[in-house]
């Protein structure tokens, strides 16, 4: 058992942990602030955007006179080559970004936990088979998988989500397998077995529950990487349709005009960077708080 699992096994413990981390770590504050900001945008972006229809990708009627305007008071982020307000598009992109990230992280975490825990608890042939599957999917890069799915299934959100889930779950399967091996050796598991509790209940109630917190922190840390990969897939045109307000796609919209209207690509890219950074800051400082080995605040002798 690592200290992480021991400390965040119950709700009160995890709240205390977050409180202490909040007091101690400026990075956690910054990260949570960014995360809440993006979450607020995801909820209200539709209403905050000055031109919601353009945000959704519809080209305005007076496109000819509005295209390629640099940032100004009227269009704080400028307009793109089709005359659409970039600010509206970027603000409305928050919802899509969060949607993709949460779908991918949630599904990967679910699948990974189940596979890892089952492999660790049941051992034998199941273990070999599940570990083999994990290794296979571990070797698949999301971006190439997205190409195959794009050809087989056509464009859309499902390509991004499915390809990312297929390439992310093995990481969680591996992590939860390692933790679950330790938990499965614990005495309370043995006692439950002796008491005649069926295996499927032990797996969920005793093993999975104790593995969850550690893997969950890992998943929070990974949210940023998921966003980066999803954006790369959308940037290459493998995922969502080219008029959707996804940040990766808006960067792609500005790609051809990078020298004449750099603002089109600049702002959505900044949003990707800041959001990913926010997720990483939260996950990172939580892990630092939980694992005292990472926390070296005092200065030594040289």
């Amino acid at each position: 058992m690592n200290p992480l699992e021991q400390r965040i096994n119950n709700v009160a413990g995890s709240i205390g942990l977050i409180k202490r981390a909040w007091r101690r770590s400026a990075r956690l504050k910054a990260g949570l602030l960014i995360t809440f900001f993006i979450a607020a945008l995801a909820v209200m972006g539709q209403h905050l955007a000055p031109y919601p229809s353009e945000g959704a990708g519809i080209v305005p009627a007076n496109a000819a006179e509005r295209m390629g305007k640099p940032p100004s008071l009227e269009f704080p982020f400028g307009t793109d080559n089709l005359g659409r307000d970039v600010l509206s598009r970027v603000l409305m992109g928050a919802r899509l970004a969060l949607l993709q990230v949460l779908l991918v992280a949630g599904a990967s975490l679910g699948v990974g936990l189940l596979v890892g825990v089952y492999a660790a608890y049941y051992r034998g042939a199941i273990e070999t088979l599940l570990n083999y599957a994990t290794e296979i999917f571990l070797a698949l890069p999301a971006i190439v998988l997205a190409l195959a799915l794009r050809i087989a299934l056509g464009q859309g959100l499902h390509v991004v989500v499915v390809s990312l889930v297929l390439s992310w779950w093995p990481w969680y399967a591996r992590a939860s397998y390692v933790y679950a091996r330790v938990v499965a050796e614990m005495e309370y598991v043995l006692l439950a077995q002796l008491a005649g509790v069926p295996g499927r209940i032990i797996v969920f109630r005793h093993v999975l529950r104790n593995v969850l917190p550690a893997v969950l922190v890992q998943a929070i840390t990974d949210l940023g990487s998921v966003l980066l990969e999803a954006s790369a897939i959308n940037f290459l045109g493998l995922g969502l349709r080219p008029d959707e307000p996804d940040w990766g796609i808006i960067v792609q919209n500005g790609f051809k005009y990078i020298t004449s209207m750099p603002w089109v690509s600049m702002f959505p890219g900044l949003f990707i960077l800041v959001t990913a950074l926010g997720f990483s800051m939260v996950g990172d400082s939580l892990r630092e708080e939980v694992d005292p080995r990472m926390r070296r605040r005092w200065k030594l002798w040289f």
Binding site: Y132, A139, P141, L147, A148, A152, S231, L238, L277
Partner: protein, 341 residues
């Protein structure tokens, strides 16, 4: 020697098994997704020759056979190096992949030659200043570097360089290559130019390689900075480092030979993991800079639904991933005498 031949054979067998799994999985995507697999394999053709092309694809895949025979047939196609002609390029899939892999590797190697030393140096520095303001700044910039979208950074670098007369699109100036009678041996142009002592080509290739390499290097630099900082802070607390300081060993020796040495196994392991991620970055950045490479293939394959190329890419990238993992494990065993394989 902490490494056994037995281990290498087991590793090889396991890798082949994983590759077979990757192949079967991609075949299942082809067959189980809605639509006619033969049409997908032929690139969803339209027009007068379409029916013939689909019929040909059906025969090639053996779709009238039972599923297990189809799978065996497909495995044979992949492992004998015969995936047919790419629809996008009208050339054998594997030869295209081979040619473009070299371009991507060149970019990746360059990025790592920049990123790993830079990240390590900053990480060591950060660990020595731990607790201070500089440490905090470096840690946060490491996080920011690791979280920068590579394609966006590449575009930013490109847009910044253009006003200074940067026109270096692609991998090499064709005119210059013809004028200086440049020959390609390895496909790594930098190495080829060096072998032929061809200075103009060398600098031309380098000038085109450095900007994208910087964009790809951001991720390994950030990751390396953070991992070295963490491991180094641990290593500095070890008893043997303490003793060395007490004995009056020179500071530089303590830092490099005693403390940094201990971070190497972890550094190698993390670099190996980061390599797989950087490969994706490299593919996207290549597309931004208009270079040849796996990323270009990816992009070209979309418009004509080139499923064969997609399978080829999956196999090549998975192979690459397995090789890098093996190399990282072996290197770790060579560096760290406690690890036995």
């Amino acid at each position: 020697m902490p490494l056994s031949l037995n281990y290498l054979f087991r590793r090889l067998f396991w890798s082949i098994a994983v590759l077979a799994g990757v192949t079967l999985l991609s075949y299942l995507i082809l067959v189980l997704s809605p639509g006619d697999p033969a049409a997908k394999w032929a690139g969803n053709p339209r027009g007068p020759g379409a029916a013939k092309a689909v019929e040909l694809a059906r025969k090639e895949l053996g779709l009238d056979l039972p599923l297990h025979l189809q799978l065996l047939n497909f495995l044979r196609m992949v492992f004998t190096g015969d995936l047919g002609l790419s629809i996008a390029y009208k050339q054998p899939v594997y030869s295209i992949l081979w040619r473009n892999l070299a371009a991507t590797l060149e970019l990746l190697f360059m990025a790592y030659i920049i990123g790993i030393p830079l990240g390590s140096l900053l990480g060591i520095f950060s660990a020595l200043k731990r607790g201070g303001h500089l440490d905090g700044v470096l840690q946060t910039s490491g996080l920011a570097l690791a979280n920068t979208p590579a394609f966006w950074l590449g575009m930013a670098i490109f847009a910044t360089l253009v006003p200074y007369g940067f026109t270096a699109y692609g991998r090499i100036s064709t005119n210059l290559a013809i004028a200086t009678n440049f020959q390609i041996f390895t496909g790594l142009y930098l190495l080829d130019a060096l072998l032929q002592l061809n200075a103009p080509i060398f600098f031309d290739v380098l000038a085109r390689l450095l900007p994208p390499a910087l964009a790809v290097a951001a991720y390994p630099t950030g990751v390396c900075l953070r991992i070295v900082r963490t491991l180094m802070a641990d290593a500095l607390l070890e008893e043997h480092v303490r003793v060395a300081v007490a004995w009056g060993v020179k500071r530089r020796t303590v830092v490099w030979r005693y403390a940094f040495r201990a971070t190497l196994p972890g550094l190698v392991q993390v670099s190996g993991l980061a390599f797989a991620y950087s490969l994706v970055d490299a593919m996207v950045v290549e597309y931004v800079f208009g270079r040849e490479g796996l990323g270009r293939l990816l992009f070209d394959a979309i418009s004509v639904s080139d499923f064969r190329l997609a399978i080829g890419l999956l196999i090549v990238v998975a192979t690459f991933y397995l090789i890098i993992n093996t190399v990282a494990d072996v290197a770790q065993a060579l560096i760290d005498p406690r690890v036995k394989l």
